[in-house]
């Protein structure tokens, strides 16, 4: 079966013996288990842990299991964690009350350990499928909105140019005609780019479920990104420098992170005026590898930067050479960094430049 051994289960029960017993059953089955003796302790545990499932005793002093369940189901952060009630009560109306409070299942004590494990596994599987479906629906909505606006709009521009030419408002020997042809070319190219990155995004989004974490050296990846984008930099006479702590290894998936680095470097070049520079640096602390992309570009004001980092919508901007942005790049970057258990930070001063910093888990092979 495809339950993941790393799944963490939170056991909440005021009876210590029950807690110890349940935790040991779960651990023998390969789960990680954490425990709490009351509703308040459970809430405290949730501040630092993200359990995949909660086993919750119904009868507890102060805050009952039902109350805790209702509370969690109201919170956006916790509402999707499946809750299975454990109870000594076998009355039908109590079962109904528990399920109505938002519990996914109801197990009566004393329980058979095989039944407990089987139900836990089933509900983990269900909750994972549910999450996947929600993610897919979100992707689909984003695609619809892109098709509705970002592709229809350039296409209508192209159509309009053709119509105006056909209706004879412009003659082929005029200057307007030449200009329009150039714009037609630019629009067509930009639409093709958008389609390509949209396809790449959906492809990588689906495939990236298979991220393979390994110990990867950062330096060769960054060098290869620079090589790929050398042409773009030269075209604008931008110098790209590399400053990397030797033998730095991160614990991540190579393919998705390569896409992240490539996108961030490409953005840095895109938003830096001719003659500027981009510094790609890599340092490490005890826990994390930090890769930064610092440019001497146009910069981003605080409000837009906050939007860029926190939205899941597309925000597109034009580069300093009029390069058309699709907004896909950063969406992809954020998605992938999250899948690699990393984080993205940025600092920027309008007119001076921006720095984007990626933090990733460090791998043991890193030279101290």
């Amino acid at each position: 079966m495809n339950f993941q051994p790393a799944d963490k289960i939170l056991v909440v029960d005021d009876n210590n013996i029950n807690v110890l017993l349940t935790v040991s059953i779960l651990e023998k089955a390969g789960f990680k288990a954490i425990s709490a003796n009351s509703g308040v302790e459970a809430l405290e545990a949730l501040q630092t842990h993200e359990p995949s499932l909660i086993l919750l005793d119904v009868k507890m002093p102060h805050m009952s299991g039902l109350e805790l369940c209702r509370l969690l189901k109201k919170d956006i952060q916790w509402k999707d964690i499946p809750i299975i009630f454990l109870t000594g009560n076998t009355l039908a109306e109590d079962t109904v009350e528990g399920l109505e409070a938002g519990g996914v299942d109801y197990i009566t004590k004393p329980f058979n350990k095989n039944v407990l494990i089987a139900r836990v596994k089933n509900h983990l599987e269900l909750s994972r499928s549910r999450k996947m479906i929600l993610d897919m629906a979100k992707t689909r909505d984003q695609l619809y909105s892109i098709i509705a606006h970002d592709i229809r709009s350039p296409l209508s521009g192209i159509q309009q140019i053709i119509d105006v030419l056909n209706l004879g408002f412009i003659t082929p020997d005029s200057n307007d005609f030449k200009e329009l042809m150039m714009q037609l070319g630019e629009r067509t190219r930009a639409t093709t780019d958008l389609l390509n990155s949209m396809l790449e995004w959906t492809r990588l989004k689906n495939e990236s479920i298979l991220v393979r974490f390994r110990s990867i050296e950062v330096a060769p990846m960054l060098s290869s990104c620079i090589q790929i984008l050398e042409g773009n930099a030269q075209e604008k006479n931008i110098s790209v420098k590399l400053d990397i702590a030797p033998e730095t290894y991160g614990w991540f998936d190579e393919d998705t992170m390569l896409a992240v680095f490539r996108n961030l470097l490409s953005n840095a070049i895109k938003f830096t005026p001719a003659g500027g520079s981009v510094l790609v640096a890599c340092t490490h602390t005890g826990q994390s590898v930090n890769v930064s992309f610092a440019d001497t570009g146009v910069g981003i004001d605080a409000k837009t930067l906050n939007q860029l980092l926190n939205t899941e919508l597309l925000i597109s901007s034009k580069g300093t050479n009029g390069e058309l942005g699709t907004g896909f790049g950063l969406l992809l970057v954020k998605d992938f960094i999250q899948k690699n258990n990393g984080s993205l930070h940025a600092e920027s001063t309008p007119g001076k430049g921006s720095t984007f910093i990626v933090n990733l888990p460090i791998a043991k092979s890193t030279k101290k």
Binding site: H149, S156, Q160, V164, F169
Partner: protein, 123 residues
């Protein structure tokens, strides 16, 4: 004297195309977003008609329409919306907000000319 028309659109090709279509009959200005349009008006430019796109960075066409219709000085200037959004709800909302008309992109140039002629003749 030719009537004055202001085109507000962030897409270069649409500004150029619409200008090309109107230039023989009208005195045409163009700008690329709502804020730039408002600042033109505040600096004394008085068009007889405005043609505005909807989705633009900064202040979009809906915002521009709202600002102009609620202002005492500019609420008489007719505004034609020109957008690739073909949603009826969006169209009706803009007409209710006071747009003189709503044309979908790509638009028929002859139809745009006829609508403009009607609006300007009525004034």
């Amino acid at each position: 004297m030719k009537s004055k028309i202001l085109i507000v659109d962030d897409k270069d090709e649409f500004r150029r195309l619409t200008k090309t279509i109107l230039i023989s009959k009208y005195d045409v200005e163009s700008t690329n977003n709502g804020i730039a349009a408002l600042s033109l008006l505040q600096n004394g430019y008085r068009p007889d008609l405005i043609i505005s796109d909807i989705m633009m960075p900064g202040l979009g066409g809906s915002g521009l329409l709202e600002q102009l219709k609620s202002s005492g000085a500019f609420n008489e200037i007719p505004i034609i919306m020109l957008s690739s959004i073909n949603d009826n709800k969006v169209k009706i909302r803009h007409l209710e907000m006071g747009a003189a008309d709503y044309l979908e992109k790509p638009y028929n140039p002859a139809k745009l000319l006829a609508i403009i002629d009607n609006i300007i003749a009525k004034k």
